[in-house]
């Protein structure tokens, strides 16, 4: 009992000191804040050299486009809706009633936690000035120098830099939340908070830099040239593979394989899946950071792949088990969304049907196999996001076409086998970072505060044991 009390104190102190630190920081940097509007414009708006003849107009300063900005803001809101209520309900409906609130809370509070982390240091680590291709520097901490009224042409030339920042914030949020499917129904709330904060900082932020950051070593913004339009490696492989590590380190839920662990509210899960689909248009089509041809194409293939994946999972289940299930269709849709994510800016609608159908099929197989292998990835974070993300990243190397996106690359089926190899390297890097990093963080958290709730608490459920609340009265 004493240790529990102690831990509580420690955690409390941690939290409080965190909050206090933030506030101090806040006040301190307050002056800076006033300058976020006056970021020295980058190269794009450099004053034209004096001698330029008047007829040759100087390069116009990067200009904010209202249509593009409207679309990216809308997309940011859509991606927020993916985490809460989307993922919160998708996962919340799949657990047992006694853990419903606790599971919903995980998505909800990650949204809160990472939103603040992102503004304070996460965005800087991910997208700030490059440090050896590995990580962003801390120069943009507290959004110092991230303009609200000017674009940063490295990332998005026609919308305010802060619009790009907040759009990316939603990606960081949902990635951390996706992992919670793996450790659902048994993780201690305080440890969960600490784990999530560490994971975001030490896994997500660097990985995002590798793939999307200016100068990151993997991506197309100065790196090897692996393609990841909206986050196959950064979001789905990273969360899915980390989920696998969580499932292995935490071990199975009490009564796994013996007790009835049916989802307590599948309509809630379908609602969540539908909101994921809805929000994912922001995720993928928003990743064009402009409202034009590319966003349109990404929108179309996202919808098509998702539909095909749901049908494929349904058919696979129908053939294998004899009945098509609703949870299967919903899971298939999510698998399709996952798989099309990295490809969405590079492939056409017919390719997307194949990518989607493959996702539905592979992820269904993964889920079946899991129940044979016996590890307890409670809500299939790995089975859906790990497998679906890997398939999607590789499929991008197969189906990408410069006819769709001249800024991308051709894949194997369009005559460029090298791209598949690049995709493979990106996948491997993401797998290794996610698995090893998560393993280390979990072990540290386990040694210092413990990862799992006690058996009694698990029996009672997270809602009552962690929050003293019940979902339904």
């Amino acid at each position: 009992m004493k240790t529990i009390a102690q831990q509580r104190v420690i955690v409390s102190l941690l939290m409080v000191s965190g909050i206090v630190a933030w506030m101090t920081l806040g006040v301190a940097v307050n002056g800076v804040m006033a300058q976020t509007t006056t970021e020295a414009p980058p190269a794009t708006s450099a004053p034209a050299p004096g001698g330029t003849p008047p007829t040759a107009a100087p390069a116009p300063p990067a200009k904010i486009d209202t249509g593009d900005t409207a679309w990216v803001l809308t997309s940011s809101a859509l991606v927020l809706a993916m985490t809460a209520p989307g993922l919160a309900l998708f996962y919340g409906g799949m657990v047992r009633e006694k853990n419903a609130l606790g599971t919903i809370m995980q998505s909800f509070i990650i949204l809160c936690l990472i939103s603040v982390q992102w503004v304070l240091w996460g965005y800087s680590l991910s997208f700030g000035p490059d440090v050896k291709g590995i990580v962003g520097s801390l120069a943009w901490m507290g959004l110092n120098g991230v303009a609200m009224d000017q674009p940063n042409a490295d990332y998005a030339a026609t919308i305010p830099h802060q619009a790009y920042m907040i759009f990316q914030a939603m990606f960081a949020v949902i990635t951390v939340a996706l992992i919670s499917g793996a450790y659902a129904e048994r993780m201690k709330f305080s440890s969960f908070l600490v784990f999530s904060l560490l994971w975001a900082t030490f896994i997500y932020d660097p990985l995002a830099h590798w793939v999307w950051g200016k100068g990151g070593w993997i991506g197309t913004n100065g790196g090897l040239g692996a393609l990841d339009f909206a986050g196959g490696t950064v979001v789905h492989i990273s969360s899915g593979v980390s989920g696998l590590a969580c499932a292995l380190v935490l071990g199975r839920r009490l009564g796994y394989g013996k007790e009835h662990m049916a989802p307590h509210n599948l309509p809630m899960t379908v609602l969540g899946a539908s909101l994921l689909w809805f929000g994912w248009f922001g995720f993928n089509a928003g990743s064009a950071v402009a409202a034009g041809a590319l966003a349109t194409s990404a929108f179309v293939v996202t919808n098509t792949a998702t539909a095909a994946a749901a049908l494929a999972w349904m058919v696979a289940e129908w053939l294998y088990r004899g009945k098509p299930t609703v949870l299967g269709a919903a899971s298939g849709a999510v698998a399709g969304l996952v798989a099309i994510t990295p490809a969405s800016g590079f492939v056409g609608p017919l390719s997307s049907i194949i990518i989607g159908a493959g996702a539905g099929f592979f992820c269904y197989v993964a889920v079946i196999v899991k129940s044979r292998l016996g590890y307890d990835d409670s809500l299939d974070a790995f089975g859906v996001h790990g497998i679906g993300g890997t398939w999607g990243a590789l499929a991008t190397g197969l189906f990408a076409s410069k006819a769709i996106n001249s800024g991308g690359a051709d894949g194997l089926f369009f005559g460029n086998p090298g791209q598949l190899w690049l995709q493979f390297i990106a996948v491997l890097a993401a797998w290794v970072l996610a698995f090893v990093g998560t393993f280390v963080i979990l072990k540290i958290v386990d040694w210092t505060m413990g990862l799992r709730v006690s058996n009694d608490e698990e029996q009672l459920g997270l809602d009552l044991s962690q929050h003293e609340e019940r979902a339904y009265s």
């Binding site: 799949m94 049916a262 088990r321 299930t325 949870l327 299967g328 899971s331 889920v367 129940s371 089975g383």
Partner: protein, 112 residues
């Protein structure tokens, strides 16, 4: 007085209630229960996991009646709750030592 408990198929409740009312039963108490018996359950599947559910939804009716009405109640229950297929349920009859109506404090048959 006798207390008669019947476990029946849920969709039979309306019929049973109507029939009992007709023969002069003025009250009953109903509980949603789950039953296990010879009737086989159904399968459920959620992603990779299958469950066989052996407890089926049943409705339990409790009727307290004067001794002389008991037999007719049992007959009526059999008649109206029967579908002829397995799982129709059971009737249990037991003795009560006392019945009281809370509102008035009346006891015995007058409390019914």
């Amino acid at each position: 007085m006798k207390k008669i408990e019947a476990v029946i198929k849920p969709f039979k409740l309306e019929d049973v209630k109507d029939a009992l009312t007709e023969i002069g039963v003025f009250g009953m108490t109903v509980t949603e229960v789950r039953g296990f018996g010879r009737q086989k359950g159904h399968k459920e599947a959620y992603r990779g996991t299958e469950y066989t559910v052996e407890f089926l939804p049943k409705t339990k009716i409790e009727v307290v009646v004067p001794d002389n009405l008991a037999e007719r109640v049992v007959e009526t229950l059999i008649r109206t709750a029967k579908t002829g297929s397995i799982g129709d349920g059971k009737i249990f009859v037991m003795n009560l030592s006392e019945v009281i109506r809370i509102r008035t404090g009346e006891t015995g048959d007058r409390a019914l």
